[in-house]
Structures are given as structure tokens and as C-alpha cells.
């Protein structure tokens, strides 16, 4: 210690020893300012850091280091003893290796799995194209109709040399994507109309819209699905059946429509009255006024709640499990019914959760960018 001071002094005899100035930029300064500014902040930071590190190490241990990736198969029966002996210390990813195709595509014929895979890819491509602003024109309409037709052909088959696959064999990710895409694609225009209708001066239209919104919002989605699946068929003449998926689809669309309508109405309410009056003063008709002045402003205001509702509905589609449709989550649950794989629920839920996360995070991220771009003039 003393040596150091001595040497330093001899090296530069004229300068008095000074401590370095406190760094006020860079990561160290940031840490000091934000995490360790007082003793209480320091204590909280240390405790949280400890918990975070413990948990991360635990998760890495479970998910990677102690995990078992494959299990031997003896005469068609997988031998999962190795996994069971871990007793929860490590993940048994072998269940995903064995069951991922079932979780993703349900009971769709095994050798035809390329069809639902292609359908998922088409859906994602459709989302990406619709998200790009350079395609925001009438060309989107033929793109959507074309893609959805191709998706229908791929799923059902029966033409072009594809074998026919009845609807009850569909399952997994395509079901989730179909229910949420069609649901929101039809619910959104419906919602705009209902929101406009609710502000209409015509009493009949207004009453009808209020009735629809309040009636649908007043019932849980699960009971609407029940009505669609359990009661509706009883009203039909015997022998006449409307497809189960279509019934669920209609219920989800109606439900999403009511919620989105209120979100859109909130946007309409926010617009200052002057906008309406200015449009009227220009002599625009109702539809011109709504289409060119009101809606473009109102909708960009409500992007966050709209996307919130979209994300909510994407996940709500998993409620169709109560009427026996194998969506992504239900297929995951069914995959672990088999005795050999019972008890590996966490692995399957992590897998399914990761898929949901990818879609929801993409939606959320995109909406943030959209919001920033569209609302630049009002950013503060």
C-alpha cells in the first residue's frame, strides 16, 4: 500500500495526488444514479438482483442443463422413466419432440401435415403484407380473398388432387389462426358500423346498436360459445347441421365486434366537435365525412386499446376447448393425456406459451411502431 503511494509520488513529483473525478456518464454512473442512489435503493436492487439471478440460474438448469431431450422407444411405447426420475429437476423436452406435430396440427392426417404448415405460413405472410404500409390500398382486398381461398382449399382439400379432410380433424395452430383472423377481420368492420350506428340520430338504428353491444357484452364469451354449440343446433330441423367451427367463429366474431365497437366509439367521442362541423361546412356527405375526416383521425387515436382487444381475442380463442374444438392450447393439453406422457404439463405449456408470445409480441410491437408513425404530429 505504502509502496504504491511512494511510487506514484516519485513518478510525478509535482502533481498533488488527486482522486479521479466521479464519472457522470456511462453504465457505472447510470447504475449509481438509478439503482444505488441511497441505501434503501441499494438494498432493493441487491435483493432483486439476487432473486433474478437465482431464478435465471434455476430456469437454465431446468430448461437446458438437467433437461432430457430424447427418450428411448421400445416397440412403439416411449420409455419415460428417465424423465420421471428427474422429479421436476429438469425439463423433459422429449415430450415436445414426440408430440409437437400433434400440438401444432391436432388430428389432421399425419402424412398431410404439410398442408396446415403451409396454411400457417400463408397466414403469417398475410399478416406481414397487410402490415406493410406500401400495400395499404385496394390491392389488399384481392390479396386477402386470394389467400383465404387458398387456405380454405388447403385445409379442406377435395380438389386439385388433395384428399378431403373434414373439419373435425382440423386442429392446433391453424384453428387458432383461423378463429382469430376471421373473427377480427369480420368483427372490425362490424364494430365500425356499430360504433357509428350508436352515435346515429336515427332512433331505430341507435337502439339496435345499443341493444347488440350491451347484450353481447353482458354475457361471458363462454356462454355465447355454449349457446352456439349447445342450444343453436336444437333450434335447427333434425339432420341440418351447421359446422361446429363456423358456429364458434360466428360467436367469437359477434363478441369481438361488441368490444371493438366500444373502442371505436371512444375514438369517435374524442374528436373535437369542430372536425364534424368543419366537414359539414365543406358540404361533405355523411359517408365522405366519416370516411375521410372522422374515421382516419378517430382510429389512429385508439390504436393501443384496439390492439389490446386484438391480443385479448387471439388468446380468448382458446376457450373453444369447452365445445370440443382442438385449438393450439387444447391440442397441447390433449397431448399429455397419454399415460406415458402424463405429468409433463409444464414443458407443453411452456412450448404453447412461447408460440402465443411470438404472435402477441409481434402484434404489440407492430402497434407501437404504427402508433409512433401515425401520431407523430401530436407527440410531445
Amino acid at each position: 500500500m505504502s509502496d504504491v503511494t511512494l511510487n506514484a509520488a516519485t513518478a510525478n513529483p509535482e502533481a498533488a495526488p488527486r482522486t479521479a473525478p466521479v464519472v457522470s456518464t456511462g453504465p457505472v454512473a447510470w447504475l449509481r444514479a438509478n439503482l444505488f442512489s441511497s441505501w434503501i435503493n441499494t438494498a432493493v436492487s441487491l435483493v432483486l438482483a439476487y432473486l433474478l439471478i437465482r431464478w435465471t440460474i434455476g430456469f437454465i438448469d431446468w430448461a437446458f442443463i438437467n433437461a432430457i431431450w430424447t427418450v428411448p422407444v421400445q416397440g412403439n411405447i416411449p420409455q419415460t422413466q428417465a424423465c420421471r426420475e428427474l422429479e421436476g429437476a429438469g425439463a423433459c423436452w422429449a415430450v415436445i419432440g414426440e408430440k409437437h406435430r400433434f400440438i401444432l396440427f391436432g388430428t389432421y392426417p399425419y402424412e398431410e401435415h404439410w398442408r396446415p404448415l403451409l396454411v400457417c405460413a400463408l397466414f403469417i405472410a398475410l399478416y406481414v403484407v397487410s402490415a406493410m404500409r406500401r400495400f395499404w390500398s385496394w390491392v389488399l382486398i384481392p390479396i386477402w380473398i386470394g389467400t383465404l381461398t387458398v387456405i380454405g382449399v388447403l385445409m379442406w382439400g377435395g380438389i386439385l388432387g388433395l384428399s378431403y379432410v373434414p373439419q373435425e380433424r382440423w386442429g392446433g395452430l391453424p384453428i387458432t389462426l383461423i378463429l382469430s383472423t376471421f373473427g377480427l377481420a369480420f368483427a372490425f368492420p362490424l364494430a365500425v358500423l356499430v360504433a357509428l350506428g350508436r352515435r346515429s340520430k336515427l332512433p331505430a338504428i341507435k337502439m339496435l346498436c345499443v341493444l347488440y353491444v350491451e347484450l353481447v357484452r353482458g354475457v361471458p364469451l363462454i356462454s355465447l360459445l355454449f349457446m352456439a354449440s349447445v342450444m343453436f343446433p336444437l333450434f335447427l330441423p333434425e339432420g341440418m347441421n351447421i359446422d361446429k367451427l363456423l358456429r364458434a367463429q360466428v360467436a367469437i366474431t359477434l363478441f369481438a365486434g361488441a368490444y371493438l365497437a366500444e373502442v371505436v366509439r371512444a375514438g369517435l367521442q374524442t374528436l373535437p366537435r369542430g372536425q364534424y362541423e368543419a366537414a359539414d361546412a365543406l358540404g361533405l356527405s355523411y359517408w365522405y365525412k366519416t370516411g375521410f375526416i372522422i374515421l382516419p383521425q378517430a382510429l389512429r387515436l385508439v390504436i393501443p386499446p384496439l390492439v389490446n382487444t386484438f391480443i385479448g381475442f387471439f388468446k380468448d380463442t382458446s376457450l373453444v376447448l369447452i365445445i370440443g374444438i382442438f385449438d393450439l392450447l387444447t391440442a397441447g393439453k390433449t397431448a399429455i393425456v397419454e399415460p406415458a406422457w402424463q405429468g409433463f404439463g409444464i414443458e407443453v405449456y411452456v412450448f404453447v406459451g412461447a408460440i402465443y408470445l411470438v404472435f402477441c409480441f409481434a402484434m404489440s410491437k407492430y402497434s407501437q411502431d404504427l402508433e409512433r408513425d401515425l401520431n407523430q404530429h401530436r407527440s410531445r
Binding site: 411405447i77 422413466q81 420421471r84 426420475e85 422429479e87 414426440e98 408430440k99 406435430r101 400433434f102 396440427f105 391436432g106 388430428t107 389432421y108 392426417p109 399425419y110 373434414p166 373435425e168 380433424r169 386442429g171 345499443v210 341493444l211 353491444v213 350491451e214 347484450l215 357484452r217 353482458g218 354475457v219 361471458p220 356462454s223 355454449f226 349457446m227 354449440s229 349447445v230 342450444m231 343446433p233 336444437l234 333450434f235 335447427l236 333434425e238 339432420g239 347441421n241 361446429k244 376447448l321 369447452i322 365445445i323 370440443g324 374444438i325 382442438f326 387444447t330 393439453k333 390433449t334 397431448a335 393425456v337 397419454e338 399415460p339 402424463q342 405429468g343 404439463g345
Partner: protein, 352 residues
């Protein structure tokens, strides 16, 4: 004005919510009486060329899709047997997964032709729901599972125990009834989800776990060391499971009923998937000759090919083989489902 509108809307929404669950049970029996000509369903199935079978959404051993998405299980094999009897092709079946809630509507509305879905035969289901049960292919009942180390040997030893049970179904009610009748005190631990209730039992939060014996067996077989757990011999409720069809489908019901009896009869006569072809040619016993279509016109009487039983047994095996293939791996013993000649309850009236 605004307040009034909101109240009105709230009242209407509330009314819809109240009406929906009240109306559902009222509607079901009323609509169930839809008339059906005695052969309508069978003719419709033939015209369609596939059988539509309502099965469980996933229950180990009874109905569950395997890793390739192919339905397997004991109930599923009954659907296959009908398709084999009609067209000698086990693949002409479309499976509609049904939940405990929508299974009855699915059958009533004609969405499915038959239910093979662990459905307990009860008086009210037979009458007011408008179904015909065509036999009992599995005698189930509620039982208890305990840890072998606990030293419990019969259910009466459970006095003062903590028992894990799932709410909602009749399981909880049966448990309470049984305890009251036998003056047994117990502490229930009621947990909704299967994985959690099993977890509570395994971790020692409960001394015993109760549900149907078939469910206990599959839970036990999924444990790391099944021998650590034992299923008590006491069965405290009757859950006779069987396929069901709509009221009025007599010809279709007859076919299902005699397929089940044929499967049981075949086991009794010792006819298996391996020896059925041989037996059809050489076995001289009159019962065998009739069953396998060498003499008499039994198939014709049911409206199917006279070789119906040969085809079914060749593809799926007899009752015992179906049981071993599907329910053996989940650790179920024959128990009450043994043949009557072995002290069980499975008894087939004569096929003649």
C-alpha cells in the same frame, strides 16, 4: 337520459345472462322428443358412407389421439367395430370430440350418430334426455387410491383421513353420501384441475384421492413408482358406461347392442383375432358356426353382412383383446369387467 339508457342496457344484458343457463336444461328434453323413423339413422349412415362417432376429447385408454393424430382407445374401438360391421372398413369413422357439456346435444341434434364417450347409463338420461343405451361395455365405479406405505387396506380405514376430490361431477356427492352412510369423518380437499389434484395427493397433502377406478388406474400408472400406490378394493358408486344412440333408432341400437354381445360372446367361446379365420372354417361348435356366419342368417337379421363378427374380430379382436390392448397399458384390471364365467359381470345373451 344517459343513466336510464345504461340501466336499461344493464338489465337486458343481465336478463340474457340469467335466461341462458335456465333455458338450456329446459330446451334439451323438449327438443329431444324429435321423432325418428326406426331405421332413419342407419339409412342415413349408409347413404353417407361414414359413421360419425362422438368420443371423449381425451381420456387415457378410452379415447385419445396418439402422436400422429389417430384416435385410439376402448370407446374408439367400439366406433370402429360398427364401421367394420357395416362396411368391413375400420377407417370409415369420423370422430367428433365432445366435452362433458356438449356431448348430449351433439347426439340429440344429430351432429353425431352415436356416443361412445364414457357415459354413465342412468334413468334420466335414458328417458328425459331421449337416449337408448345399448349395453354396458365398461363397469366403472368410484374408488380410492392411497399410498401403500399408509397401511390402509379398506376404505373403512379412511376414518379421519384427508381426501382429495375434484368438484362439480357426482364424485364429490358420492363421497359425502358414502361417508355419511358409513359414519366416516373425513376432510375434503377440493381441487378443480386434474394435474393439481393429483399433485396434492402425491405431495402428501391428502391421504387418499378419489375418482372413478378407471381414472385412478391411469393416474397410478403415470407415477414414477406405481407400486407405491394402491387402489382400495371398495367401490362406492355404480358407473356403468356404454354407447348411446337416440331414442327411436331401434335398428341402429340393435346393431350396437349385438356387436357388444358378439364381442363378449367371442371371448367366451375363445375366438380371437388370431384364430377367427381358422375357427370360421373348422370349429364345429354350433354357437361358433352361428356367430361366424357359417349357419343361420344372424348378420342379415341385423341388416349387415353375415360375416360381420368374423370381420370385427379379425380387425379388432374380441372383448378381452380390446380391453387388454387399450386398458391394460393404463394398469386396469378386468375386475367386474371379467366374463361371468370368471366371476365378472360381462354376460352375453345367446347369438341365435
Amino acid at each position: 337520459m344517459k343513466a336510464l339508457r345504461l340501466t336499461l342496457a344493464a338489465v337486458m344484458g343481465g336478463a340474457a345472462m340469467l335466461v341462458a343457463p335456465v333455458m338450456a336444461p329446459m330446451m334439451a328434453p323438449a327438443m329431444a322428443q324429435a321423432p325418428a323413423a326406426s331405421g332413419a339413422t342407419l339409412d342415413a349412415i349408409r347413404a353417407r358412407g361414414t359413421l360419425i362417432c362422438g368420443v371423449n376429447t381425451g381420456l387415457a385408454g378410452f379415447a385419445q389421439p396418439d402422436s400422429q393424430g389417430v384416435w385410439r382407445g376402448f370407446d374408439v374401438d367400439y366406433c370402429r367395430a360398427v364401421a367394420v360391421a357395416l362396411w368391413n372398413d375400420p377407417n370409415k369413422v369420423r370422430y367428433v370430440p365432445t366435452t362433458a357439456q356438449n356431448r348430449f346435444t351433439a347426439l340429440q341434434s344429430g351432429e353425431v350418430d352415436m356416443l361412445a364417450r364414457n357415459t354413465t347409463w342412468t334413468l334420466s338420461r335414458d328417458t328425459s334426455l331421449g337416449f337408448d343405451f345399448t349395453g354396458i361395455n365398461f363397469y366403472d365405479g368410484q374408488g380410492f387410491m392411497v399410498k401403500t406405505s399408509a397401511g390402509v387396506r379398506t376404505a373403512r380405514d379412511l376414518n379421519g383421513a384427508t381426501i382429495c376430490v375434484q368438484p362439480g361431477t357426482t364424485t364429490e356427492q358420492n363421497l359425502t353420501d358414502w361417508a355419511r352412510a358409513n359414519r366416516i369423518r373425513f376432510t375434503p380437499v377440493v381441487i378443480e384441475r386434474l394435474e393439481e389434484v393429483v399433485g396434492a395427493y402425491v405431495s402428501g397433502r391428502c391421504d387418499a384421492y378419489t375418482t372413478d377406478v378407471s381414472g385412478l388406474a391411469s393416474t397410478r400408472s403415470a407415477q414414477p413408482r406405481p407400486a407405491d400406490h394402491m387402489i382400495l378394493p371398495d367401490v362406492i358408486s355404480k358407473e356403468p358406461l356404454g354407447p348411446a344412440v337416440r331414442h327411436g333408432d331401434q335398428r341402429f341400437a340393435d346393431l350396437l347392442r349385438w356387436i357388444h354381445f358378439g364381442l363378449v360372446g367371442a371371448e367366451e367361446l375363445g375366438i380371437t383375432a388370431a384364430n377367427v379365420q381358422q375357427a370360421a372354417q373348422t370349429d364345429a361348435r354350433p354357437d361358433v358356426q352361428r356367430m361366424l356366419g357359417r349357419s343361420g342368417e344372424l348378420g342379415q337379421m341385423l341388416g349387415v353382412d353375415n360375416l360381420w363378427m368374423v370381420n370385427i374380430i379379425r380387425t379388432l379382436g374380441n372383448y378381452g383383446e380390446m380391453f387388454e390392448r387399450n386398458l391394460g397399458p393404463i394398469g386396469l384390471q378386468r375386475g367386474p369387467n371379467a366374463l361371468w364365467t370368471n366371476g365378472g359381470l360381462q354376460y352375453a345373451p345367446p347369438l341365435r
